[in-house]
C-alpha cells in the first residue's frame, strides 16, 4: 500500500518523537521556511538544549507557477527537525528516518552534497548539505553557525525535509498535484484536490492583484510595530511582526515592485529587526 502524504508526516513525527524530540504544531504566521519559525530562529540562540520537530507550511510567492509546473509551488510544506547541540550521529539518525519511511539504504544512492545556507534577512548562515536521493534533493541539512548576526554555541543542526519531494519519490509521482494525501472514507484525496485551486488564486494575487501601495504601507506598519514591541521587551509578538515584514517583502518582490537597490535596503531593514529580536530574546532566554 502506498504511504500517503499524511502517513509520511505521521511517520516522521513518530520517528523524531521516539528520539526525544518535542513535536510541535505549525506556527500561525506566514513565513518562507521552517527556519523562520520562532521554534527554530529563537531557540537556537543561547545555551539551552532544544530538540524539536514540526511541520511548517512555507510561502515563497515568486515560486508560484499557476499550478502549471508539476514541481513548483508558492505554498508548500517542510518537515523541520532542530537538534541542539547537534548530536554526533545525526547523519545516521537522518538515514534512519528515511528507513522509517521505507526508503532502504540498500536500495538507493543517498548523497550528501555541499550546500551552505544563508539567510540575509535573518542574519543567519550555516554549512551543510542537500541530501540527494537517487539525484533528487529531498532534504536540507544545516549546521547553524550564526543567527540574527550572533555566533552560536552550542551549535544546532537543522534537518529540513521537502515533504512534497519526498512524497513524490515515495509514491512515484511526476506531479506534485498527484500526490495522494489520503485514501479517505469517501475515496482518494490528492494534494491537487486540496491545494490546486488556492495555488492558482494565490499566483494571481502574488503576481498581479496584490496592491503595491498597500503592501508598502503594511511593511511600514509592521516594522513600526516590531520596533515598538521590542522597546517593551515583548519578543514573541515583536518577532511576529518581523515575520510579517519578511512576507510582505516577498510579496512586493513577486509583484516586481522592488528594484535592485531597494531590495538591499529592504533586506537590511528586516535583518535589523531580526537582530533586535534575537538580542532581546537572549537578554531573557527561555529556560527549560
Amino acid at each position: 500500500m502506498t504511504r500517503s502524504f499524511q502517513d509520511i508526516i505521521l511517520t516522521l513525527q513518530t520517528y523524531w518523537s521516539d528520539r526525544g524530540c518535542v513535536v510541535l504544531q505549525p506556527y500561525d504566521t506566514e513565513k518562507g521556511a521552517g527556519t523562520m519559525s520562532p521554534h527554530t530562529f529563537l531557540r537556537v540562540l543561547g545555551t539551552t538544549p532544544w530538540n524539536v520537530a514540526y511541520v511548517e507550511p512555507s510561502r515563497r510567492p515568486t515560486d508560484g507557477r499557476y499550478a502549471d509546473n508539476p514541481n513548483r509551488l508558492q505554498h508548500y510544506f517542510q518537515f523541520q527537525v532542530v537538534l541542539k547541540p547537534s548530536p554526533f550521529d545525526i547523519q545516521d539518525l537522518y538515514i534512519g528516518s528515511l528507513e522509517s519511511l521505507g526508503i532502504s539504504r540498500q536500495d538507493h544512492d543517498i548523497r550528501f552534497v555541499e550546500d551552505n545556507w544563508e539567510s540575509p534577512t535573518l542574519g543567519a548562515w550555516g554549512v551543510g548539505w542537500e541530501v540527494w536521493l537517487d539525484g533528487m534533493e529531498v532534504t536540507q541539512f544545516t549546521y547553524f553557525q550564526q543567527c540574527g548576526g550572533l555566533d552560536l554555541n552550542p551549535i544546532s543542526v537543522e534537518v529540513t525535509y521537502g515533504l512534497e519531494r519526498l512524497a513524490m519519490f515515495i509514491q512515484n509521482k511526476t506531479s506534485v498535484y498527484d500526490i495522494i494525501w489520503k485514501e479517505s472514507r469517501n475515496g482518494l484525496v490528492t494534494y491537487g484536490d486540496i491545494y490546486r485551486p488556492s495555488e492558482i488564486d494565490y499566483c494571481h494575487y502574488n503576481f498581479t492583484h496584490a496592491s503595491v501601495d498597500r503592501l508598502v504601507t503594511q511593511f511600514e506598519l509592521a516594522e513600526a510595530e516590531c520596533n515598538e514591541l521590542i522597546a517593551h521587551k515583548l519578543v514573541s509578538p515583536a518577532y511576529d511582526f518581523c515575520l510579517k515584514c519578511s512576507h510582505t517583502f516577498n510579496l512586493l518582490d513577486a509583484r516586481g515592485a522592488i528594484s535592485v537597490t531597494e531590495r538591499m535596503a529592504y533586506i537590511l531593514r528586516i535583518r535589523k529587526l531580526a537582530k533586535k529580536c534575537a538580542e532581546a530574546y537572549l537578554a531573557h532566554p527561555v529556560e527549560i
Partner: protein
C-alpha cells in the same frame, strides 16, 4: 623502513576542497619530516569526500642524528689571561645550553667552539606529535563548529586511524582519539567498520569494503567510460565527480524526446551543473544520453537509481521548458527596456545606461574593424537583454548564449545574434567583425567604468574581471591590426562615461601592461628587452599597437646586429645629455660649420617617421664625430643651451621608436 598511515575521517567534505587539501597535506608532511630529520621515500596523500589518508612510504625507523658546530667569540674575549671563562664565554655556553667546548683556529684567529648533537630518536616516539601538528595546521577554506562547540574544521571529524606498520601511534585531534578502526562505504557492503591490520594493507582493505580511496583509480573508471563512448566532457566536472564518490559506478540515462527540442546549451547546463551528470556530447553534438556516476550501486538497486535520476532530470528539464516557453512569449525589446531597472554598478547607473554607452563605442569599433555599423550598434543595444529572461535568471552561465538564441528567434540578423552568443567568450572572436566590435565595446566600457569607480585591480582582488577584460581588448586590437593608440582607446571609453577622467592615465598604463604581456607571449618579441624598450618609451601611449608591435619585432630580429649596439650607444649619449636642456633649439644660432655638419640630422628630425633601425644611419654617421669635435658644455651659456636643446630634440625623435636605455642590457651595456 615502514609505511605510516594517517587517515582522517569526517562527514562529507565538499568535493571542490579535496584536491587542495590533498596537496596541502602532502607539502605539510614533507616539511614536517624534513624538520624532524626523518627520512622517507615518498609522501602519498589520497582520499574521498569522507576521508583523507596520508601514506608515508619508506619511513626511517628513527630520525637522523644531527650535529651542529657553534662558534662563539674569539679566544681573547671568551677567556681571561689565566685561561678561565669570561662572562662572555660563560654566556655563550649558557645560551646554547652546552657545557663542553674546544678552541679552534680559523685562519689566524682562535674561537671558542661547541659541538651539539640532537640525538636520533625512534620515529614511533615522535610521530604522534608530528601528525598532530600537521593536521592542526591545515588551512580551512571554510570552517564550521559542531555540537558543544567542537572544531573548527571543514565538516565534523569522526575518526582517525594512525598506524606505523601495524603499530598504533596515538594522535588526538578535535576531541577524536586515533585507533585502527576505519569506516567502510556508508551504504555498500555488510559492515560499517573495518580494522586496518597494517598500514600497507590500507588501500586493499578499503577496496574490499567498496571504497576506492585512490583518486586516480576512480578517475580512470569514469574516464574510461567517457572515452569508450567518445564523449567530450568538462574536465572540471570530472574532477568534481571523482571527489563526490567512493565507489563510482557509471549508469546511462536517456533524455526524453520531448526535451530534445529545448535549446541544447540549457539542457547541457542543467545536466552538468545541477545534476553533475555527463551529457553525451559526441562530435560537438548533444545526443539524448547522459552518464550518471552513482556511488552506491548494487545489481539490485541499479534500475531504481536509474529511474530516480531520470525523473529528477525530467523535472529539471520541465522547468527549463517552462522558462523557454515564457521567454519566447516575451519580446526582446521589452527586456531591453527593463535593463534600466537593473543597477550595473553603484554610481555608474543601470545596465541600460551601460548599453547606451556601448552603442556608440560599438559604432566606433565597427568603423575601425570594418564591421557593419548598423549590425554592431544593434547587437550592442540587444546584448544585455537576456539578463532579464527567465532562463538566464535561472541558469546565469547561459548569459549571451541564450541572448543569441532569443535574438535569432526574434528575427535579428545572424551577425547580430552570433555577436551576442559569443559576447562572453574568453577570447574575443576576431574572425567575426560584428562580434569583435560588440565585445570590444562591452569590455572597454567595463574597464573604464571600473577605473572611474575606483575598482582598480590590486593583487588578487579583481571581482569585476577588469584584468581579463583589458587583456581581451588589447589582444583583439593587436590581432586585428587596428592602428589605434591606447590613449585614443581609453579616452574614447571615458568620453562615453563622462566621469573619472583623473583615472585616465592610470588606465592607459594598465592597458600598456597588458600590451607588454601580449607582445611577450604573442610572438612579437620572445625576449623581454626589445618589448620593454618599445612599451616603456614615453611615447608609447601615443603609438598604435601596430607600430609598437612592428618596432618590437624589428628590434628582436636585429638584437645581435653590431650596428644596433652603435645606435644604442649614440642615442643613450644624446639623450642623457639632452635631459638637462631647458630652452628651444634654434638652428640659426649654430655657427656655419656646426650647422653644416648637423644638417643631415636636422633634416632627419623634420622628416618622416622612423620605421627601422636603418633610419638611424644618419645619426651614427654624424653624431660620434660631432661629439668628438665639439665641446657640448661650452662656457658660453647660450651656445651650451642651444646644443643641449638640439640633443633633447634628437632624443625625442629617437624615442618615437624605442626607449634605448632599456635596450642596453641586451647589448652588454652602453658606454657613456
Amino acid at each position: 623502513m615502514t609505511i605510516y598511515l594517517l587517515e582522517l575521517g569526517f562527514e562529507e567534505i565538499p568535493a571542490r576542497f579535496i584536491p587542495g587539501l590533498i596537496a596541502e597535506l602532502r607539502s605539510r608532511w614533507m616539511d614536517a619530516l624534513n624538520t624532524a630529520h626523518i627520512e622517507y621515500q615518498d609522501v602519498e596523500v589520497v582520499g574521498t569526500y569522507r576521508r583523507i589518508a596520508t601514506l608515508i612510504h619508506g619511513m626511517a625507523d628513527e630520525s637522523a642524528q644531527i650535529s651542529h658546530r657553534i662558534r662563539g667569540p674569539i679566544r681573547s674575549v671568551a677567556f681571561t689571561e689565566a685561561n678561565e671563562l669570561t662572562p662572555a664565554g660563560a654566556g655563550f655556553l649558557r645560551k646554547n645550553n652546552v657545557t663542553d667546548f674546544v678552541v679552534e683556529a680559523e685562519g689566524d684567529k682562535h674561537y671558542i667552539v661547541s659541538y651539539t648533537t640532537i640525538p636520533s630518536r625512534p620515529t614511533v616516539d615522535i610521530l604522534g606529535s608530528i601528525a598532530t601538528s600537521v593536521v592542526s595546521g591545515i588551512s580551512l577554506p571554510i570552517a564550521m563548529k559542531w555540537g558543544d562547540g567542537y572544531g573548527p574544521f571543514i565538516r565534523p571529524v569522526h575518526w582517525i586511524v594512525s598506524l606505523l606498520g601495524d603499530r598504533h601511534v596515538p594522535v588526538e585531534f578535535l576531541g577524536i582519539r586515533s585507533g585502527a578502526m576505519t569506516r567502510t562505504h556508508r551504504f555498500l557492503g555488510s559492515y560499517r567498520e573495518a580494522t586496518i591490520t597494517s598500514a600497507s594493507d590500507y588501500v586493499t582493505i578499503l577496496n574490499d569494503h567498496y571504497v576506492n580511496v585512490l583518486p586516480a583509480g576512480r578517475r580512470d573508471i569514469i574516464r574510461n567510460e567517457l572515452d569508450l563512448n567518445r564523449i567530450h566532457y568538462d574536465v572540471t566536472l570530472l574532477e568534481e565527480v571523482v571527489f563526490l564518490t567512493e565507489w563510482p559506478v557509471p549508469i546511462w540515462g536517456a533524455i526524453d524526446s520531448d526535451h530534445m527540442t529545448l535549446p541544447a546549451p540549457a539542457v547541457v547546463e542543467c545536466i552538468q551543473k545541477n545534476q553533475k551528470y555527463f551529457p553525451a556530447i559526441i562530435d560537438g553534438k548533444l545526443t539524448d544520453r547522459y552518464l550518471i556516476i552513482a556511488d552506491s550501486v548494487t545489481p539490485a538497486n541499479e534500475a531504481i537509481i536509474k529511474r530516480g535520476n531520470h525523473s529528477v532530470l525530467r523535472a529539471r528539464l520541465e522547468d527549463v521548458k517552462f522558462f523557454w516557453n515564457e521567454d519566447r512569449n516575451n519580446s526582446y525589446d521589452n527586456w531591453v527596456k527593463k535593463l534600466d531597472a537593473i543597477v550595473y554598478q553603484k554610481g555608474l547607473g543601470s545596465v541600460g545606461d551601460k548599453v547606451r554607452r556601448m552603442m556608440p563605442l560599438a559604432d566606433r569599433f565597427a568603423q575601425w574593424i570594418g564591421a557593419d555599423r548598423v549590425d554592431s550598434v544593434r547587437a550592442a543595444q540587444l546584448s544585455k537583454g537576456d539578463l532579464v529572461s527567465q532562463m538566464v535568471q535561472e541558469l546565469p552561465k547561459l548569459q549571451g548564449v541564450m541572448g543569441g538564441i532569443y535574438a535569432q528567434l526574434s528575427g535579428e540578423s545572424s551577425a547580430v545574434s552570433s555577436a551576442i552568443t559569443h559576447l562572453y567568450d574568453s577570447d574575443i572572436r576576431i574572425d567575426q567583425p560584428v562580434c569583435a566590435a560588440l565585445a570590444l565595446a562591452d569590455r572597454l566600457d567595463t574597464v573604464v567604468s571600473c577605473f572611474a569607480n575606483g575598482l582598480i585591480p590590486t593583487g588578487s582582488q579583481d571581482p569585476w574581471g577588469v584584468r581579463r577584460a583589458a587583456l581581451a581588448v588589447v589582444r583583439a586590437l593587436h590581432r586585428l591590426h587596428i592602428p589605434m593608440t591606447l590613449t585614443d582607446l581609453v579616452s574614447m571609453g571615458f568620453d562615453g562615461l563622462g566621469t573619472g577622467r583623473d583615472k585616465q592615465d592610470l588606465c592607459i598604463s594598465f592597458m600598456m601592461d597588458r600590451a607588454r604581456y601580449i607582445f611577450e607571449t604573442d610572438g612579437v618579441g620572445s625576449d623581454m628587452i626589445p618589448v620593454s624598450a618599445v612599451v616603456d618609451s614615453v611615447i608609447s601611449p601615443h603609438r598604435s599597437l601596430v607600430q609598437m608591435a612592428h618596432s618590437a619585432s624589428h628590434l628582436q630580429s636585429r638584437i645581435s646586429d653590431p650596428r644596433l649596439k652603435l645606435i644604442t650607444e649614440t642615442v643613450i649619449r644624446v639623450s642623457r645629455l639632452g635631459r638637462s636642456a631647458s630652452g628651444r633649439f634654434d638652428p640659426s644660432r649654430l655657427d656655419t660649420n656646426e650647422r653644416a655638419g648637423l644638417d643631415p640630422v636636422i633634416q632627419w628630425m623634420a622628416g618622416t617617421d622612423i620605421h627601422t633601425l636603418d633610419d638611424f644611419h644618419v645619426l651614427t654617421d654624424v653624431m660620434p664625430a660631432y661629439f668628438e669635435s665639439t665641446l657640448i658644455m661650452d662656457p658660453d651659456l647660450d651656445i651650451r643651451s642651444n646644443r643641449l636643446s638640439f640633443l633633447r630634440d634628437v632624443s625625442t625623435k629617437c624615442e618615437l621608436f624605442a626607449d634605448f636605455e632599456k635596450l642596453s642590457p641586451a647589448l652588454g651595456g652602453a658606454q657613456n
